[in-house]
């Protein structure tokens, strides 16, 4: 019987585990299965790259770097979203 099988992990699980993967919080076996899935799945590999790029980009952002008006637009959007959830 094989020691580790890439198809034992699904794309959905990759999405669920990606934060732990990036935080180095997976066990060696979990991480190996995660990465073996990536070898077989270009979609999940692209997703990992996108998340890494997003993290890198957000590290460069500061509150002061937001263009004028964007902060208010975001706050309005959050308030609207919260209203809809409560309503």
């Amino acid at each position: 019987m094989s020691n580790l099988r890439p198809m034992d992990i699904t794309c959905k699980e990759v999405v669920e585990l990606i934060t732990e993967y990036l935080d180095d919080a997976l066990s060696l076996e979990e991480r190996t299965r995660f990465e073996q899935h990536l070898v077989t799945c270009p979609g999940c590999m692209a997703y990992l790259r996108q998340v890494r790029q997003t993290i890198q980009a957000s590290r460069r952002l500061t509150e002061e770097s937001l263009p004028s008006g964007v902060k208010e637009e975001l706050l309005d959007a959050f308030r609207e979203w919260r209203k809809r959830r409560i309503g």
Partner: protein, 219 residues
């Protein structure tokens, strides 16, 4: 720089020959880290991990981690043998395996697809469907295999193997050799009727990669 880089580690075990697949540009596929290449002065700089180590392959591990660049690497002691990879405190690139490139990567996926196709052909003949078997056997391209095998997909053993052949050919046709090889290894379980066939197929794939890349089989 690692201080212990002799031919054996503290336990006296001999340093294994090791290889590492990287994406184009000597980039680690998961971390995005660009490995320092060897130069005129010698091997690339040592790479240590911020995590729990640096990983590399024995010959038998290669199918699990296939990519478009293959490098021979040197591991710094101590190293550890894991089920599908080697782990070391640090590693550095020694030489690029020039015989392994994008074309070899694609050919590897294609070889896996044609192998899965041949199993489906054999199963169709066993099912006394010589016409279907011959039609699939005559396919010359991945696209033809994918289309023909998809039409033969069904719930019987032969139909399932045709489904595997279609999926394997489709992935190989997209240049996704890693997925094609994995599907072929799963198809082998059905073809041979035993779970051990998965590892046997991985061994066949490792030998294919070693031959194409010109790696020494005894490593």
């Amino acid at each position: 720089m690692p201080s212990e880089s002799g031919a054996s580690d503290a336990s006296g075990s001999r340093r294994p020959r090791a290889w590492k697949f990287l994406a184009a540009g000597a980039v680690a596929p998961f971390s995005g880290h660009r490995w320092p290449r060897p130069g005129a002065a010698g091997p690339g700089q040592w790479v240590t991990s911020s995590g729990d180590g640096v990983y590399a392959c024995r010959l038998g591990d290669l199918p699990w981690w296939v990519d478009t660049e293959l490098w021979e690497v040197e591991l710094a002691a101590p190293w550890e043998e894991l089920p599908t990879q080697l782990r070391a405190r640090a590693a550095r690139l020694l030489t690029a395996v020039s015989a392994w490139d994008v074309a070899a990567f694609r050919d590897y996926g294609e070889a896996c697809a044609f192998r899965a196709r041949d199993w489906a052909v054999e199963a169709l003949n066993t099912d006394r469907r010589p016409g279907d078997a011959e039609a699939l056997r005559e396919c010359k391209t991945l696209a033809e295999i994918a289309e023909r095998a998809r039409a033969l997909q069904g719930l019987t053993r032969a139909g399932n193997l045709a489904g595997y052949a279609a999926d394997t050919a489709a992935r190989a046709g997209l240049g996704n050799a890693g997925a094609a090889a994995n599907m072929a290894a799963n198809a082998a379980i059905l073809y041979r009727g035993t779970p051990q066939a998965f590892d046997a197929e991985r061994a066949w794939q490792a030998a294919w990669i070693a031959d194409r890349a010109g790696l020494p089989r005894e490593a």
